[in-house]
């Protein structure tokens, strides 16, 4: 990657938008392709110093996995859990069809 031009095409942005589930407009896609190109050009400088001998840091303060006791803790009631739902039915979240007609 570091040797290639990081320029980003509109098709790539469309693909990323599909992955990210954002229905971008054609104008947004075009705009973002230009912006992302320049941002990626700038941030790719991390590759200059990220040599194989340097370990990665994912978490600033090392911690091991934390488990709590296997007892019932604070939980939301069904009503509380549904309180912010755009649509609920019969104590459950309601969504539209999972599959489209052609699927």
């Amino acid at each position: 990657m570091p040797d290639e031009s990081p320029s980003i095409t509109a098709d790539q942005v469309q693909h990323l938008a599909n992955l990210a589930r954002i229905a971008l407009t054609p104008a947004e896609i075009e705009h973002l392709a230009v912006e992302l190109g320049s941002i990626v050009e700038s941030v790719r400088k991390v590759t200059e110093v990220a040599t194989p001998d340097v370990p990665a840091t994912s978490h600033p303060i090392p911690l091991t996995n934390i488990f709590r006791a296997d007892v019932v803790g604070d939980t939301l009631t069904n009503e509380q859990a549904l309180s912010g739902a755009p649509e609920a039915f019969d104590g459950r979240f309601r969504v539209s069809a999972i599959l489209g007609e052609e699927q």
Partner: protein, 533 residues
Amino acid sequence: MTDLTRLPAADLADLLTRREVSSVEATRASLDRIAAAEGDLHAFLHVAGDAALKRASEIDQLRADGHDLGPLAGVPVAIKDVLCTKDMPSTAGSRILEGWVPPYDATVVARLRSAGLVPLGKTNMDEFAMGSSTEHSAYGPTHNPWDLDRIPGGSGGGSAAAVAAFEAPFALGSDTGGSIRQPAAVTGTVGMKPTYGGVSRYGAIALASSLDQVGPVSRTVLDSALLHDVIGGHDPHDSTSLEDVWPSFADAARAGASNLALSGLRVGVVRELHGEGFQAGVRQRFDEALALLAAAGAEIVEVSAPHFEYAIAAYYLILPAEASSNLAKYDSVRFGLRVTPEGGGTVEQVMSATREAGFGPEVKRRIILGTYALSAGYYDAYYGSAQKVRTLIQRDFDAAFSQVDVLVTPSAPTTAFKLGDKIDDPLAMYLNDITTIPANLAGIPGMGLPIGLAPEDGLPVGIQLMAPAREDARLYKVGATLEALLHDTWGHPLLDLLPADFGRSRAGATGHASPAHLVPPPGPGTEPDGGTA
């Protein structure tokens, strides 16, 4: 009678404890100030007037009944809208959460409440804390009380402006790359980003989980310390919360303010964050602050942090990557906005239409960037490399802290810039965080405090103090000493110079544009940059 809104929280708390002032009086004073100033500032997204007065009256009753309340009971506080509050909307500045009232309180909010603090409302911020100016709030920007044409910093510009303009004695903020410290710098206030894991993030709407920290925003170092004492400490609801037992930060601040001798303290100036690229007045005030520290006995040493120049690049890979994952939860199913495409659609189509309508341009930009950085084929080169840079920056800090006790930099490269100046240039906006980002990448604590006004524009300048992880108390001690030295020099706190007209007369004198046209009416399609909606 004293204007209660001008008092530091610590002084107000003393009056409340002695029952010389009631919480209802203090809360009403804040609410009146908010009513008078909000038309200019727009620091709040929600003001909970009735609930605040009711709670204040309960506190007064408890105190009258002889209950032993905490030292801050009855003091009003503002809360950044990134924190969940079960009695107030919590939108994180986003359309996608407009009107959402969470079913639970963030731990820090619950701790405020049980300490008897009185929530005044929720403060404005860049959408999901993505920004350095509050211009990315879906509900319109906050204006800097020093000059209404200028940014109050971001993402926590609402909390900083509210505190600087005496709408609240102090506030909660969150800091992922400088969102507490940079607003503090440009508004003349104090802000503290605690050690990563020092303050619970349960109920803090997540941006980038390996970077986010909640912390206090105030007008004095002691007030931040008092608030930090209330919100800090282990929380079993947050698996990244440290189990350390923390010392009293208020005691540390009081110790620092009572003994102004700094002999034995080694202060490191980061060579890479000093000089070129910094506004002349910022450099001047910074150098004067160093001279003040030296005169008090501190040893000033220059240290090098050669990898800091890679910090912004690493940050703008790690943050978008984590944000793209964290923001996947806004799926139109469990909470927030739902937009159904014309003629209906599958869950996936509804989700995509919702996120298109509900997210602003900066959020879309970062989600797409993060999705790109995590894509197969790019992951190692970008995200993997960024994580290695993180290690290199931690090593730079380790080397520096082997030579010095605290590190200092200017809090921000410039004073507050004009609203609209950088909104069309994301890279220029990102560069603004060059001084603050390294502390987030390394997880160490950082404090910002005011050190004067830049001679060329009369706007506040801040200094940042950093200490090794878990040494938050050191920052409160040294910060309180520096603050006291500065107050002795000036004869008053910096915010005594805040213009009563929020800089309006000054703006007229220099022919600045009126702020009105810089404020786009909020709503889909009118995002501030006008470019991507």
